[in-house]
């Protein structure tokens, strides 16, 4: 794969994950989203929201996350890394 494809794919993955966050947290403003922001900083990120983030990611990328992976996701970045590891 050439570098342009890698970059394009990475951008698509990032966009998809970003969109997942806005679907799961519909009241979140653009300014409130950050890749590094952690679960504890999202008032609406409870266990059900976690479940929905995982479900959306599994569906959009056609992957299956293990229980450990699912529990370990604490930020958008964590989800991005997890998805990357499955798509390698």
């Amino acid at each position: 794969m050439i570098l342009a494809d890698v970059l394009r794919d990475d951008t698509e993955i990032k966009n998809t994950i970003r969109n997942i966050f806005f679907e799961v947290f519909p009241n979140m403003s653009e300014a409130d989203f950050s890749w590094d922001k952690e679960q504890k900083d999202y008032p609406a990120w409870d266990s059900f929201a976690q479940l929905n983030l995982i479900t959306f990611a599994e569906t959009k990328f056609n992957i299956t996350l293990s229980l450990e992976e699912s529990i370990g996701i604490k930020s958008a970045n964590d989800l991005l890394e997890c998805v990357h590891s499955h798509l390698k």
Partner: protein, 477 residues
């Protein structure tokens, strides 16, 4: 009074009027009564009190059913497409002397090597001179049906003549059937819904038009028009399928209809709303009931009543209560008491535990609003518990059905390591639909609380259902 007394009265009042029409012939009330008497004379002397009956909808079915009852026996009504195992289990329990059947049914059953009960085709029941029926022993039980089993193995439900009479008179009182009606029945007669329609027609002296296939929508429409029918019985799924036709076409075909009666599985509210518009000269109505407690509520969806998702209020002289062990919720198990409720199951002590001081614990979950309207939420066993949040599958299904491209859907609980259960959807897509899982999830996210979002979605060919159209959720898990 038993159901043949209904026929006898109508034969006296309307001897030359057409009582029943099937896809091959028709009979007047007088001729039907005579055929029934002949039939009972032929079987009146058999030893056992139960006789099986399995056939498609036909005049022969009606003659046999009424003939069995008229001879003082109990009719064991067997679903036409019954599996070998289910039939074997029913025969062990009901122990009929023999099974009366159509040629089609005999052909099917002859493949079942484990079945030893004799099979008699309609034509093989010899015709004897009509005997004095006073010689026949009387029997409190009219018929025996094994429940279709949405949650477990079928149970025998014995229905007495008194229950049948009580229920029939309630149907007539609430839904206003008269001898002027022409009733289209495409539902099987071996189930409580179809059978109740037969009893009603015989009681009021209306004309009953039998069809064999509830999925042949064109035939139902043509028959409705041909006979200027005034009522139609159909399950909710059939009504929803009708909506594929142009509204003007349906308005035209249903212009003589004063009543479409459906039953207690959930009806999409959109279907109710559309039928309110289509039936310019009539109403859509539904009822809630079980074989064990037939027609316990009625709901007529008139233009002013906006409760499109209710199954109505308790039928006359029937009591309904919600039994709830959680003070924070208005929903609970539906209990029913009245003369339509069985006294016991057929030889089933375990099932009899559902009967408490005359109340039937239905296992269905619902609530009653301030004006006495009952709303169903699902089966007790069907409720999905996601991390302590209890969810009725019906609510999820209603939302998913709003999506274009969804022909049918079932929601049910699947085990989950953390939450105990999460929600899975099985979806049947419409032809040529490009629906994908992401669209379904996004739609759920927009329309449901976050603990109600499904975690798994499968696209499937079909969803297992009973003949009533109830989802067999235990088969999905």
């Amino acid at each position: 009074m038993n159901v043949t007394d209904f026929l006898k009265n109508s034969a006296y009042k309307f001897p030359s009027k057409t009582a029943v029409i099937d896809e091959e012939k028709k009979l007047t009330f007088k001729d039907l009564y005579q055929e029934v008497q002949k039939f009972s004379s032929s079987i009146g002397s058999v030893n056992k009190s139960v006789i099986g009956l399995i056939a498609e909808n036909s005049i022969s079915f009606i003659i046999s059913y009424l003939g069995i009852i008229n001879s003082g026996k109990t009719a064991h009504l067997i679903p036409f497409e019954i599996s070998e195992n289910n039939l074997l289990s029913q025969l062990r329990s009901a122990n009929p002397e023999f099974i009366i059947c159509s040629s089609g049914a005999k052909q099917n059953l002859s493949k079942y090597s484990s079945i030893r009960t004799p099979l008699l085709e309609f034509g093989e029941v010899s015709s004897k001179p009509i005997q004095n029926l006073d010689n026949f022993k009387t029997n409190d039980l009219a018929y025996l049906i094994y429940t279709s089993g949405t949650t477990s193995e079928p149970k025998g439900v014995p229905i007495t003549h008194a229950m049948m009479e009580f229920t029939t008179k309630n149907i007539i009182k609430v839904l206003g059937y008269t001898s002027s009606d022409v009733d289209i029945l495409p539902l099987p007669l071996y189930h409580s819904f179809g059978l109740g329609c037969l009893h009603t027609s015989l009681c009021v002296g209306s004309t009953l038009v039998l069809l064999k296939n509830a999925n042949n929508l064109e035939k139902i429409l043509e028959t409705t028009k041909k006979y200027n029918a005034t009522t139609l019985a159909a399950i909710p799924a059939t009504l929803t399928k009708f909506l594929q036709f142009d509204k003007k076409v349906l308005e035209d075909y249903f212009s003589t209809i004063r009543l479409i009666i459906t039953n207690s599985t959930s009806i999409p509210t959109e279907t109710v709303k559309k039928f309110k518009e289509i039936l310019r000269n009539g109403h859509l109505a539904t009822y809630y009931g079980l074989t064990e407690a037939s027609r316990s509520t009625f709901m007529i969806f008139d233009k002013t009543n906006k409760r499109e998702n209710s199954v109505g209020r308790a039928a006359p002289e029937i009591r309904i209560k919600i039994v709830n062990h959680d003070n924070n919720s208005k929903a609970g198990e539906i209990w029913i008491k009245g003369n339509n409720v069985i006294k016991n199951y057929w030889d089933n002590v375990e099932a009899d535990k559902r009967l408490v001081d005359g109340w039937l614990r239905t296992g269905d979950i619902g609530y009653i609003d301030g004006e006495g309207y009952l709303f169903l939420l699902g089966r007790d066993d069907d409720i999905i518990n996601v991390g302590g949040e209890k969810i009725a599958p019906h609510e999820i299904e209603e939302v998913v059905k709003q999506l274009s491209g969804v022909e049918d859907v079932a929601a049910f609980g699947v085990d989950h390591e953390i939450f105990g259960q999460t929600i899975k959807l099985n979806i049947v897509k419409s032809k040529n639909s490009n629906l994908d899982k992401s669209i379904v999830l996004s739609h759920c996210m927009k329309n449901l609380e976050k603990f109600k979002i499904p975690t798994k979605i499968d696209f499937v060919e079909d969803i297992p259902k009973t003949d009533y159209g109830k989802v067999k959720r235990f088969m999905l898990k």
